[in-house]
Amino acid sequence: MSSRWRWIVILGLVMLATAGVRQTAWADNGPHGGYTPTTDACAVCHRAHTASGPNLLVAASSTDLCLTCHGAAGAGADTDVINGVYLQRDATAESPAEGEVDRGLKAGGFQYARMDTAWNGDASPRPVTSAHLYDGGTGIAWGSGALNSGPGAAMALSCTSCHDPHGRAGGGNSPTYRILRPTPIDSGTDTVILADEDPKQYTIAAADGKYFGQDYDGTLYNNLAHWCATCHDRYLAPDDAGHTNSGDSIFTYRHIAVGQGCGCHNLHGGPPATGNPEFRHDPLSCLTCHVAHGSSAHMGGFAAQVAWPNRATAPNGDARSALLRVDNRGTCQLCHDK
């Protein structure tokens, strides 16, 4: 091998090694993980002697801190989770791009969302009608706990209940999808490690703002359902749960929440002839019908009057939108095509 070729090979190996290191280091993104012994990242969120909030945070609460970057007025991240939109506002020009600018985030938003929930081509920003709590408030985690343990347990939720700001939450210092904790705080003992997405893509694929029919990696999709069930245990239903009594007095018969639904087809002698061919063979997950942060879906008619799992009938109307991706029961109709 000539001296020239030797250098080319060495240079190639160095580039390859560097690429690998860089990819891992950026897996969790920004100040969230991938720390070296001499990292500067701690100083982004913490002060050792002049902290404004518990855990030596630079803001009064963890949510306030998160929103300094990810809020509507934040400048530290492209993901504006309040308005549910991807922007190009931080100092990093990601390559490849991690989302389409001005397009809705996959999770929706906490106060506004750019979702065409009416399925009419209008994805302009609208106030959300339901959202996961993110400000430390307490709500009921519907379906948490074992069979016949009631409608669900009260649980306080903030951003960090689900997300681990220090990243590398996957055990063995491995990154997780959206820095999600394997065991959300106060969720119990179930552990679900979600492999990180590489490259990241924060926005929905549909340019028209239609959130239903989003494609996810199959394994991730499956595991995400199990992850949701770390809090909402009794919603995790297999493909025969619509015809099988679970034994629970509230969550008695349940729609499949994870898997392919082949069992349903077998029970009915094949896929429904009238089923929507666009979606009927897709695997199912909680995220098939629901977004994670918040939805602007409207509820009217029967859909607005559905009682809550604890039998309460209020609040109703749009407040009953349950983070659904489509108005009313569009998520049913778009698959079942009745």
Binding site: H243, T252, Q333
Partner: protein, 306 residues
């Protein structure tokens, strides 16, 4: 040729209008769904269902009765008492008049004497692939949903397009202006009965005297020539009978189809009857009123007037 350019869009528009009409044909939560329909939530829960098929009630029968039962509030048609009400505003029939299908608990304020079981307790039907006078098991237990498709249907009264494995077509006759209390039966309404009671579907002329084997399956004799049977599908005037619908006998009348033909429903009420059977009319099954519209054999006499 410019007119052809306009013809295609016009035809497409016409088709869309026609389809739109069909979509609204069934009413209430039963059909005509848009991509963002709320109707699913009328009957189903994705995670907190109390019955199979994700129903909000423990069974199909209970769910249907939550709207259409005596205590239901979701529909004007109280099929338990066989009466039209105005609890949802009325407008599609005469309030307090009997429903065309009869009742499952009462009919004309009298307790029923025979009904089509609809609560999942019966799974056999007379003449279902067997001779008249015999029963055979249906594919499943009989419920409201066995005959009616809650998700809508192009058939009259959301009757299923397939019942017990047999294709069913029953023309809609009043979809755009429903009337649940005025007799107006489609000419092919007997098809819904035939799906389960095929051996009773006798259309051969002079069937009361001619049950000879046609060596082609005797389709016009319900496939069963082991006995003789009354014919249906013919005009009421066959054999010189008077019009049972317009003329009747002794104040009693019987309905005919749109073309003045005799159908199963001319003599029988689909849901249930309070007709009383005495003496000879109780044979061969004690006190079985067989969903007949009139006491004893009034249904014979109104036409034949012997």
């Amino acid at each position: 040729m410019r007119w052809i350019r306009w013809l295609v869009p016009l035809l497409v528009l016409g088709l869309l209008v026609a389809l739109a009409g069909q979509a609204y044909a069934n009413g209430g939560p039963h059909g005509g769904y848009t991509a963002t329909t709320d109707a699913c939530a009328g009957c189903h829960r994705a995670h907190t269902a109390q019955g199979p098929n994700l129903l909000t009630a423990a069974s199909t029968y209970e769910l249907c009765m939550s709207c259409h039962g005596a205590a239901g509030t979701g529909a004007d048609t109280n099929v338990a008492d066989g009466v039209y009400t105005n609890r949802q505003g009325g407008g599609e029939g005469t309030v307090n008049d009997p429903l065309l299908g009869g009742g499952f608990v009462n009919y004309q304020t009298v307790a029923v004497t025979s009904i089509h079981d609809s609560d999942g307790t019966l799974s056999a039907a007379w003449g279902y692939g067997v001779a008249r006078g015999s029963t055979a098991n249906l594919p499943g237990a009989l419920t409201c949903g066995s005959c009616h498709d809650p998700h809508g249907s192009p058939n009259y009264r959301i009757l299923r397009e397939n019942i017990a494995g047999n294709a069913v077509t029953v023309d809609q006759v009043d979809e755009n202006n429903k009337n649940y209390t005025a007799e107006q039966w489609p000419d092919n309404v007997s098809n819904v009965c035939v799906a389960c009671h095929g051996a009773y579907h006798v259309t051969r002329a002079n069937s009361g005297e001619d049950n000879t084997d046609d060596n082609a399956g005797n389709v016009d004799y319900g496939g069963d020539i082991s006995t003789y049977a009354h014919r249906i599908g013919m005009n009421y005037s066959y054999d010189g009978n008077v019009d049972p619908e317009a003329t009747g006998y002794g104040g009693y009348t019987l309905p005919l189809t749109a073309s003045k033909n005799v159908a199963c429903q001319t003599c029988h009420l689909p849901h249930g009857t309070s007709a009383s059977m005495t003496a000879q009319a109780t044979a061969p099954f004690t006190n079985d009123s067989a969903l007949l519209r009139l006491d004893n054999r009034g249904v014979c006499e109104v036409c034949h007037q012997k």
